[in-house]
Amino acid sequence: MDITVARKFRANQEPGTGISNDKLGMWIFLASEVIFFAALISVVVALSLNPNEEVNLFREHREPYARKAIILATTNTFVLILSSVFVVSAIDAIQKGNQRMMKVWLWLTLIGGAAFLYNQGQEWAELSHILHEEFGFAEGFAGGTESLFAAAFYTATGFHGLHVAIGVALLLYVLVRAHRGDFTARRYNAIEMFGLYWHFVDLVWIILFTILYLI
């Protein structure tokens, strides 16, 4: 598509929303992701309420695990929230023209994301271990076959973790461009788009954490 042709047409358009195509697209895409996680989370909540059994199988397996893993999970939540703050700081830095600090904040975000994923792995190992010790279930993923809680936990945190991993990949791309000097005080669209995605992933985790560990 010839860039001059595109420019000619873009100069002759209705005002539109005032939000750039990229950002608008990202918001709409995130709306679909919200529904995806809302559906998964509703299912997890419904399972935790478990109307059919005298014994709440979900909670029975959750209690021992949540008790042990709560510290780790809370730390992890904090790490993810911090990393979201770092992105905001990065945007703040580039708005002020501070290339160096922007890169620093972005690297810290990456460390936060990677740490989250590592800890999530630890939590999985912890759950697998506890289920094996206390209930005699199979180790690892196979424990999800007998334990409703494990199945819900692995699925929900698994898909969330997948989204975090994709976010980390996106962040790597943003870092590459940051180091290439692509961003200026006036042009940092990619960081904002990434930030939107990252905040969303963070928000989903806060809700998941609440459902899976707290209530």
Binding site: M1, D2, V5, A6, K8, F9, R10, A11, N12, Q13, E14, G16, T17, I19, N21, L24, G25, I28, F29, A31, S32, E33, V34, I35, F36, F37, A38, A39, L40, S42, V43, A46, L47, N50, P51, N52, E53, N56, L57, F58, F141, A142, G144, T145, E146, L148, A151, A152, Y154, T155, F159, Y173, V176
Partner: protein
Amino acid sequence: MAKTVRTFLSQFLGRIPTMRLGVGVVAALVLMSLTISITYAQGEVPTQEQNMAGAVLGIFLALVGLGMLTVVLIGFVLWATQTKIPFLPQGEPQGIARYFSFSTDHKVIGIQYFWTSFAFFILGGIMALLVRWELALPGLFFTTTQYNQFFTMHGTIMIFFFIIPMLTGAFGNYIMPLQIGTFDMAFPKLNTLSFWLLVPGGLLMLASYFVPGGTAQAGWTAYPPLSILASKQGPGQLLWGISLFIAGWSSIVGGMNFLVTIMNMRTKGMSYFRMPLFTWNIAVTAVLQVLGTASFAAGLVLQVMAMTFDFPFFDPVRGGSPLLWQHVFWFYSHPAVYIMILPAFGIISETIPVFSRKPLFGYRALVFATCGIGVLSFVVWAHHMFTSALLPQLRLPFMLTTMLIAIPSGVKIFNWLGTMAFGKLTLNTSMLFSLALVSMFVIGGISGVMMGSIPVDIHLHDTYFVVAHIHYVLFGGSAFAIFAGIYYWFPKMFGKMLDERMGIWHFWLSFIGFNLAFLPMHAVGALGMPRRYADYAPEFTELNFVITVGAFLLGFAQLILVANMAYAFAKGKQAVDNPWGARTLEWMTSSPPPHHNFEEPLTVEHDPYDYEWNPPYKPLPETAPAVGD
């Protein structure tokens, strides 16, 4: 360092076509092994009787599908990192090759969607005829398992690979940017991704025909625990789930693209209330696609987990519930039926004013009705669950919302009638199909309202009355609109005129066959025949025989359309800019349009259906109503 890696990658991938092929094959082999190991981990191994050649073909198709998916996703990542992508054309390929390329032109993509959807229409139709062959007489011709597979694939293919991609992907993609006067979509490359995600999705669905155990067989609704049980007979049910998950991405990405394009790229003067109604309907449909499909994706994830790892989400013994799927599924699938009908309403809101030569009656009312239907579509889903184990207190609220959603649909019908009144009607094929839609949708809408009443639904649910209803709205509604759209926009898209006489034959044979097939279903269902039955009580024989005759007439009538299109390509008359004398922007450019749609950007000063205004465009042939300078 990064640059070296990128250069190496692009040279490696760009060097020799076989290298690219090699990468694809290796990726596909890896994924194939993964898929096969996962599915056979469930414990079923093909028996001696199973057709090994068929199994190999199925695995090959799945391989190609997954390989294509990998190539598409890798290509996308390379684009995101701004690596030169050798297999995206540097400059557009010409001629037929365009339609097999990763073109980013929305018109090419629209046509790619058109032919893919049409091919699946034929396949879905064959499935329907197999169903009707079984039901022509009592007794069993096929096995009941095969029968379950026929109607499962019929429903699945028609919904996800014909109606939705044809209406949104083909017509939405091709026509909407033209109607708002812009040069392409907001995200042309995402548009390419959207189509090329549908293809592997479709291939995986086709692959399921050839794997041991055959295709999915739990209905297009795939209720667990039946679907989980069915998945133990072979990988077909699992392939079904994965295929739709991928096709769902296509829908979500497409919807997002449509919304951003409509919101940000309308040409000067095209305010929201000057947009043609087809664009309005595509916009609301896009909202439904973006918000609804994700729920289906979540449900499919849960089913795939249950099938593959035996996760107990739907097993009551281990604390799960079959009802969870029903809620998550219908939360999408109800908006899905509106995804299937709103663009159809949009199409006839274009054709009826044009072929009445007067403005659309009640433009704003139609816009508000469309938005109202869009919003309400998210709060009626449990009316598919009135006889289920649904929490009893929920039945009444859903009945109320269901009754409510009937009102805007009624308003639309009246406005279309109002558009016809005092017009100068041209009853060509496109108009006939459009008017038939109004007529058939009244019937479908009435049967829908009847089932919205819980006491009556308790008798009618899961019977042939439902089958009658869905086909009146989906064939008499969506498919008739697709036909109307084909006869209307074929000249614009392909630059050739379709033959009117063949069109009239297509219309009347379809109309008669359709009503012969689906009208008696109301009776046979309410009289006691459940749906999804391979065999029935002898008292239903006569009606079923008539239905089958109608279905075969309807099926064979479609061959006339195929012949018409083939003839048009071979010997059809060249189409001019505006053969129908319409006023929307797609007609203010050549047929087909140039690469960037319009020679110069337009500024809109008139309403889309303003017949007091004579727009400047090139002269028309003698057969079409002519208005010109």
